[in-house]
């Protein structure tokens, strides 16, 4: 053990001169990096047409990848049409950064898809402004709710997908859309 120490000291000593000349940037503790592009939070704001309280669905993972997220999935009212808007936030920043702005700035590269499980009586329709090529972005939508039911409601944010793929402009996320999935969040929705 003592010889190990000696070897260690010896090597450190011999190299100290070399190292200090070139590695001065290392003496301090490293700077923390907060992931810039991270999206911690997805909010779905649903406002009943004709007025009423805004219903907010939230998926929030403030601890970065890999911990249990907070999911809020309030009930929706049957036979109601909601005006919907999705919001992406990076809440690691203070104040929280609204990533939706970045998505809208690069609207030709992004599209939000809403996929509804067959058992859930809900029909989303894109509203809102189109991108420069005349394709939907999907941040704003309306959601027509039918009778009481239950099922999954999944929100996708697709980057550089093929917006001209069959059905894409109606919000059908077929494999032909391709691209990369930036967001994929599922809410279990109950219609009462």
């Amino acid at each position: 053990m003592k010889t190990m120490k000696t070897i260690k000291l010896l090597s450190l000593g011999l190299l100290a001169t070399l190292v200090f000349s070139a590695c001065s940037d290392d003496d301090d503790a490293p700077q923390v990096i907060n992931e810039e592009e991270v999206i911690t939070t997805l909010n779905l704001f649903l406002t009943p047409e004709g007025g009423g309280e805004i219903i907010t669905f939230t998926y929030k993972d403030l601890d970065g990848d890999g911990s249990n997220p907070e999911i809020t999935s309030p009930a929706l009212s049957a036979n109601t049409t909601y005006t919907g808007r999705v919001q992406f936030l990076n809440e690691l920043e203070d104040p929280a950064e609204d990533i939706t702005v970045e998505v809208l700035e690069e609207d030709d590269e992004h599209q939000v898809f809403y996929v509804v499980e067959d058992s859930l009586n809900a029909t989303p329709t894109y509203t809102g402004a189109l991108d420069n090529d005349g394709n939907p972005v999907g941040v704003e939508f309306s959601l027509a709710i039918g009778d009481a039911s239950q099922g999954n409601f999944t929100v996708f944010l697709i980057h550089e997908g093929d917006k001209n793929a069959p059905g894409a402009s109606e919000g059908n996320l077929s494999p032909q859309v391709g691209g990369e999935t930036d967001i994929e969040v599922t809410f279990n929705v109950t219609v009462e």
Partner: protein, 803 residues
């Protein structure tokens, strides 16, 4: 047992001979070309003053018999070599090898000085590639050239990032030595190709196993020794320019080298190359964003006297490599879609533009070396090198961040190497050395992406001793031992929840320094002790067949990636987590080499078995669901592994035809879990037939057939995950098949060429066509095999000028 008795017999034989004080003594040995270790045929070995002389045979062997006990002077000459003489007092049978400065014809009768890695002087199981063959790969990469050796494959990321695999092992398990400097170029990464300009190499030796201890003890897989063109001690200028054009990628490269040398020993050297390639093309589509740019330069200046010398060199390699656009995906659902799609999602028209994702890597090496021959001792050498590896990886990013690298790492390594080659003890050639390394890794925090590898300082100290002993004309023994101490001191931010999930708050509370938001700063410090050793014997039969046996044990400390890796890999959409609890792995390898020549038939057979304790494997361990969807989580595990295999090459010449055949088989298993190891090269056979005719301007035409079978031995790393069916909106459990291996494939490659001599310059023209039949195929050892086919036909024209 049998070998032992032969040895015993030989000893008895010698003792008998030495007692006989008559004129029955013999001197024998080999005459070797110092530049490429080839045997010199037709060299004259004479006893000066006596009427005795012989020619060496085609294996460079000579034998002079019937010499009396006396002072004799041996003179060796060869038509194109400086003669060499040696005086000895002969009182017993002696074996004396000569190394001659044979001129290489393509270098215009220039005598070269310098000692190459000598694979004849120890029992390492090794193969060499020489200049002439290397030049064929001027337009390709180091990994591509090495694949022409039986038992060497490559692990690819696309077509431009090629990492050599030696007998089934790669990355940190393979050392790359460039001009006597061990490369520290973040070699832990499977998508980090070695930073070597193939055009700067004159000779490459692959040592299969950990038997080249002077370069390091952690070569669990092997060592690749790359040697540049040495300068001669003679007034001369020599130069070479190679120009390549290729149809696939619609580009090419130019490489030029120049050496000016003086008889005083002074020399300076220049070598540079440029490469520009656009998008490559598979038979059915463009491989969008697979362009490549390379700028390489090396400079050297030195004074080389026979008994001392000093040399400085600088090398720069800079490459920008586009990564197939379609391989950048989001989550497990995207991966399933990509696998099912069968062809890349992004296919655009041909372009020279290199967009994100891409890598930009710059590697620089500064080296100062000096040696002094000391009488009655040997040669003492001292070498200092500094290398800096800067790696930028650009990703597809949102919000105009594409110009900011997602990874920006700077690795600096100082190495001090001192070595004594001790030759004064009769029959022994011994090496003693000390190596010190100081390494600093700095990850630029301005990337806006958490560090994949943290900032760290690493110090290593190594000490080694090796010896080779000429027992007799037929027996040759060698052995070596090396000890390395390695200490690493890192500063790493973990996401606090990750640190706790991995249980590190319980295991390593002493590493915790402070918290910053949702991250915890830690200071992991580890020491590793590594012992490696080798022992071997070489026996040369009467018919010059040679049998080599080598045992080696290498020991490798876990690399920074295995310890600290922490993040998402977009190309395989997986989260990779390092493990702080890893220990060093230790290999025990037995290798045999059996080679020989019978008339026009030559063969080389190399079977081996490699048992590795605490082998570090990366495998999926669960699924993590994030806001971006589901990802498999890959973690490291240590196990015991066993690899065995055989590499065979054979050649046969018949009139103007030459047949060359190589095949390699390797089988790797995790013996604890009794399953196959991942990424083992499948059985492959390469057959080449060449017709050549010297009279027609060195004309040759060559057809190569390459068969790579399907790998049936692979671990089941498939994972099941719930994926939303985008039609029904329901979650469906899907098995993501990341394990299945591509089908066997067969490729045909063609090449042909001519040489023209103009006074002092020589022009060579070569045409090469790879994948002549434009075959569609995918390769198991290409990490992007899920996304696209390999490249199709590539027609290349090469012009080479020697002056």
């Amino acid at each position: 047992m049998y070998q032992k008795s032969i040895l015993l017999c030989l000893f008895i034989f010698f003792s008998v001979v030495t007692q006989a004080q008559d004129c029955e003594l013999t001197i024998s040995g080999k005459v070797i070309d110092i530049h490429d270790n080839s045997f010199l045929f037709g060299a004259v070995v004479q006893l000066v003053g006596l009427d005795k002389g012989v020619y060496t045979d085609k294996n460079g062997f000579y034998k002079i018999e019937g010499i009396c006990e006396s002072e004799v002077q041996l003179k060796v000459s060869h038509p194109s070599c400086e003669p060499e003489t040696k005086s000895i007092y002969l009182k017993e049978n002696r074996q004396i090898h000569f190394k001659l400065e044979h001129h290489l014809e393509e270098l215009n009768e220039v005598l070269l000085k310098g000692k190459l890695y000598n694979n004849e002087s120890n029992s390492s199981i090794s193969n060499q590639i020489k200049t002439q063959k290397l030049e064929k790969f001027s337009n390709a990469s180091l990994g591509d050239a090495l694949k022409s050796i039986s038992g060497v494959s490559s692990l690819n990321t696309g077509n431009s990032i090629v990492k050599p695999i030696i007998q089934g092992l790669h990355s940190s398990r393979v050392l790359v030595i460039n001009d006597n400097v061990r490369l520290h170029d973040q070699q832990w990464g499977v998508d980090h190709a070695p930073n070597v300009d193939i055009n700067s190499a004159a000779n490459i030796t692959v040592i299969k196993g950990a038997s080249a201890l002077k370069y390091g003890g952690d070569a669990i897989g092997g060592t690749i020794v790359i040697e540049p063109q040495k300068a001669p001690i003679k007034d001369t200028i020599m130069g070479k320019t190679i120009l390549n054009g290729s149809s696939n990628g619609r580009g090419g490269n130019i490489s030029t080298s120049f050496i000016k040398a003086k008889s005083s020993g002074f020399n300076y050297r220049f070598q540079g190359s440029l490469k520009r390639l656009g998008d490559l093309e598979a038979p059915d589509y463009q491989l969008t964003n697979t362009g490549q740019r390379e700028n390489n330069i090396s400079l050297g200046i030195g004074l080389n006297k026979i008994d001392y010398g000093i040399d400085f060199s600088y090398r720069l390699t800079n490459s920008e490599i586009g990564i197939l656009r379609a391989s950048h995906i989001g989550n497990a659902r995207d991966l399933v879609n990509s696998i099912n799609r069968q062809e890349p999602f992004f296919i655009e028209d041909f372009s020279y533009t290199i967009d994100n994702p891409k890598q930009e890597v710059t590697h620089q090496i500064y080296k100062l070396e000096t040696f002094k021959k000391i009488k009655n001792l040997g040669e003492l050498s001292l070498q200092y090198s500094f290398q800096q590896n800067n790696r930028l990886e650009f990703d597809i990013r949102r919000g105009g961040r594409g110009d900011t690298p997602a990874m920006d790492m700077d690795l600096k390594t100082h190495t001090l190497l001192t070595q004594l080659e001790w030759t004064s003890l009769e029959g022994f050639d011994s090496n003693f050395g000390l190596e010190f390394n100081a390494q600093n890794n700095f990850a630029n925090p301005n990337t806006g992406v958490r560090r994949l590898i943290p900032d760290y300082n690493m110090y290593t100290a190594g000490i080694f001793a090796t010896t080779a002993y000429d027992v007799s004309e037929r027996w040759f023994l060698d052995a070596g031992v090396r000890y390395d101490f390695n200490t690493i001191d890192a500063d790493k931010f973990y996401i606090t929840s990750r640190w706790e999930n991995l249980g590190y708050d319980q295991l390593f509370p002493e590493f915790e320094i402070g918290e910053d938001g949702n991250q915890i700063l830690t200071n992991p410090q580890f020491d590793y002790h590594n012992l490696s050793a080798t022992v071997g014997a070489t026996y040369t039969f009467k018919n010059d067949f040679k049998l080599i046996g080598n045992l080696s044990s290498g020991s490798r400390a876990p690399n920074p990636s295995e310890l600290f890796s922490d993040g998402l890999h977009h190309s395989i959409s997986s989260i990779e987590l390092g493990d702080l609890q890893l220990d060093s792995e230790q290999s025990f390898k037995a290798g045999v080499g059996f080679q020989g020549v019978v008339e026009k038939f030559g063969f080389n057979i190399q079977p081996y078995i490699n048992y590795i304790e605490d082998f570090i494997v990366l495998e999926p361990n669960g699924i993590e669901t994030t806001i971006r969807g589901a990802f498999p989580v890959y973690e490291y595990r240590q196990t015991n592994a066993r690899l065995y295999g055989i590499d065979v090459s054979a050649n046969y010449s018949f009139n103007n035809f030459e047949f060359l055949s190589n095949f390699a088989y390797v089988n790797g298993r995790d013996v604890e879990q009794n399953e196959a190891l991942i990424n083992m090269p499948p059985f492959n056979v390469s057959n080449t037939v060449t017709y050549s005719k010297k009279e027609w301007n060195n004309f040759y035409v060559s057809l190569n057939s390459q068969l790579v079978t399907q790998q049936n031995e692979f671990p089941d790393n498939n994972f099941r995950t719930n994926i939303v069916n985008t039609t029904t909106g329901q979650f469906e459990e899907v098995e993501v098949d990341v394990s299945s291996t591509p089908e066997a494939y067969h490729l045909l490659n063609f090449s042909s060429g001519l040489d023209f001599d103009f006074n002092k310059t020589k022009l060579s023209i070569n045409v090469m066509i790879n994948n002549v039949l434009n075959t569609n195929y995918r390769d198991y050892l290409n990490r992007l095999r899920f996304y696209a086919d390999e490249v199709g036909t590539n027609v290349m024209l090469q012009l080479k000028l020697n002056y």
